[in-house]
Symmetry: C2
Subunit: 373 residues, 2 copies
Amino acid sequence: MLFSIQHEDPDSKARLGRLELAHGPVLTPCFMPVGTNATVKAVRSKDLEDIGLNLILSNTYHLYLRPGIEVIEQSGGLHRFMAWKHNILTDSGGFQVFSLSPFRKIEEQGICFKSHLDGSTHRLSPEDIVDIQRKLGSDILMPLDFCTPVGISREEASKAADLTTRWARRSLIRWEKDFSPPAGQLFGIIQGNFFKELREKSAEEIISLGFPGYAIGGLSVGEQYEVFKDYLRFTAEFVPSRYPRYLMGVGTPQYILEAVENGVDLFDCVFPTRTARNAQAFTKVGPLSLKKESNKFDSGPIDPGCSCSTCINYSRSYLRHLFKTKEILAAMLTTYHNLYFIHQFILAIREAIRNDSFTDFKQNFRRKYDSRL
Amino acid sequence: MLFSIQHEDPDSKARLGRLELAHGPVLTPCFMPVGTNATVKAVRSKDLEDIGLNLILSNTYHLYLRPGIEVIEQSGGLHRFMAWKHNILTDSGGFQVFSLSPFRKIEEQGICFKSHLDGSTHRLSPEDIVDIQRKLGSDILMPLDFCTPVGISREEASKAADLTTRWARRSLIRWEKDFSPPAGQLFGIIQGNFFKELREKSAEEIISLGFPGYAIGGLSVGEQYEVFKDYLRFTAEFVPSRYPRYLMGVGTPQYILEAVENGVDLFDCVFPTRTARNAQAFTKVGPLSLKKESNKFDSGPIDPGCSCSTCINYSRSYLRHLFKTKEILAAMLTTYHNLYFIHQFILAIREAIRNDSFTDFKQNFRRKYDSRL
């Protein structure tokens, strides 16, 4: 069985789960760091492992364009290529086609787009997208979907959701054709923009196709926090409890707590790694801007309660200096801390669920975290 | 005793030595990586330790300007600041004043220069330079010297060498004033540009002052390789065998072999780390340019005979991809390899000296290394 629930919080939808993936079991809730170009930026695979992570996300669109799928295939797959022994989820590339490509065309057959790197034209069908992720050797594959921005018309959103369903069906057929465990699992993606009836329709259609897990797409794309919460709750409820739920693109502590509360098991975001490179570090009392003058003589660690190697060895004063001098080590040490922090946060969430105290945990964490420094 | 010779090569001046420094013994010959801004670029202190390094160089000029000596002092010194438990040699900053500052004036009293960062004016005497390195907590301190470029007149070179001697005397007086072991050792620096009689005069004057160790300055500054060799041999011979000899700014395998052959014990250079960031990796058959198309599908390591974590885990194909996508991990992995390679090279040199086979080792290494790929 792919997914088993180990414990359910009595006061919310939060649950502890276990995913049996091809590269080992993954406990949930689980945060996946993003390794766009076959590397989580500024950390080694070994560092991720030391932190305790065993599921990361990588971006099909980027890998397809550079170094190219045949390079990774010839290296023995993505795991071998990036020296990562644990699990990898790859996205479909749909989101990147919409956000990065200078030109794209959506057709029934698939997508046509120009590379943001060299302008070359590419056509990919939903079937191609499954095949590409198979070649990468992904543990969780995502089908091509039609991502839409906030603010489009109901008609546009409806068309996009319908096409997403048709593409999902084709992806599933392609994936099932040669599937044999323990190969990668293909998750369905629920779209529908910010129209509840479309969300409901998309959820019903996608779930009726019978994927082993479900993702909620098209949230956390710039909408208000209250809208996000509303649509998250509304959409998550359609996914039967026995399936793993994955909320795409979510990564701040606040959003993660909201997702867990609504029964989400997996989430990914560049937030912890990107903000680290921009000198922002997580602490239990909110984000800390390491470049600030006030850190100049501060010989204390980023977070006095953190036992990561960055906090054990290095001061705010030193990290500020590294950022000021644009040293690579600044990104290395802060990224490590942020990933360690977020993983410890996830471990604490799991512990709270296990103790039937998730709601208390959430309130206490938020009270401290929102107090700022 | 600061320095003891453990073995001498019968066919050359090469020798095995041991330096007893404040942060532990250092075996020589020893290559010091450069940690300009209190970090060897793109590696952690822990990585340096894992490689087996226990003496690094840091730049007084850079640290003085940023983060400022008071920041490091308040952090408990440079070792604590950068989380490095082993030894640190700091240069005097003289070289950087000449190479980086947009304005400088040499006076009997000391140097006056403008910061290359913000244009602010600074005046530092030889005594200040000793005091600054004391505050940093350096294990080996260098006195302020007057560095001169290739091609100046005999008169200019003579004046510079004379001033270097007067500054050396003042530095020594300042250093001896409060010296008590196991504090940092102050080395003398021999100058004299490319005039043998000036080199000889500088060596005699500096050595007569009675430092615990001697550096050869002003070589490897752009002169022809044959000129370098000639002046290295000529200058090194003036330093009595019982003292540690340090050749400043030397870091390619070829130059290191030449230095060791002439009885040099210590050398430093940005070469292994800077070239790593520029995608050039050491191999036993010469430097490898990782960006080259020929690496695209090469699933072998940088150097098949290397057991560093980069070569064990990652392929040329992957590293090429990381450089092409400008990933931070590219610099991290290649810097680690280059430092590991150069340290293994030093270990092999020591072993060869121990076996009375340094000359053979040098020839064999050069034959392979110069064969290129």
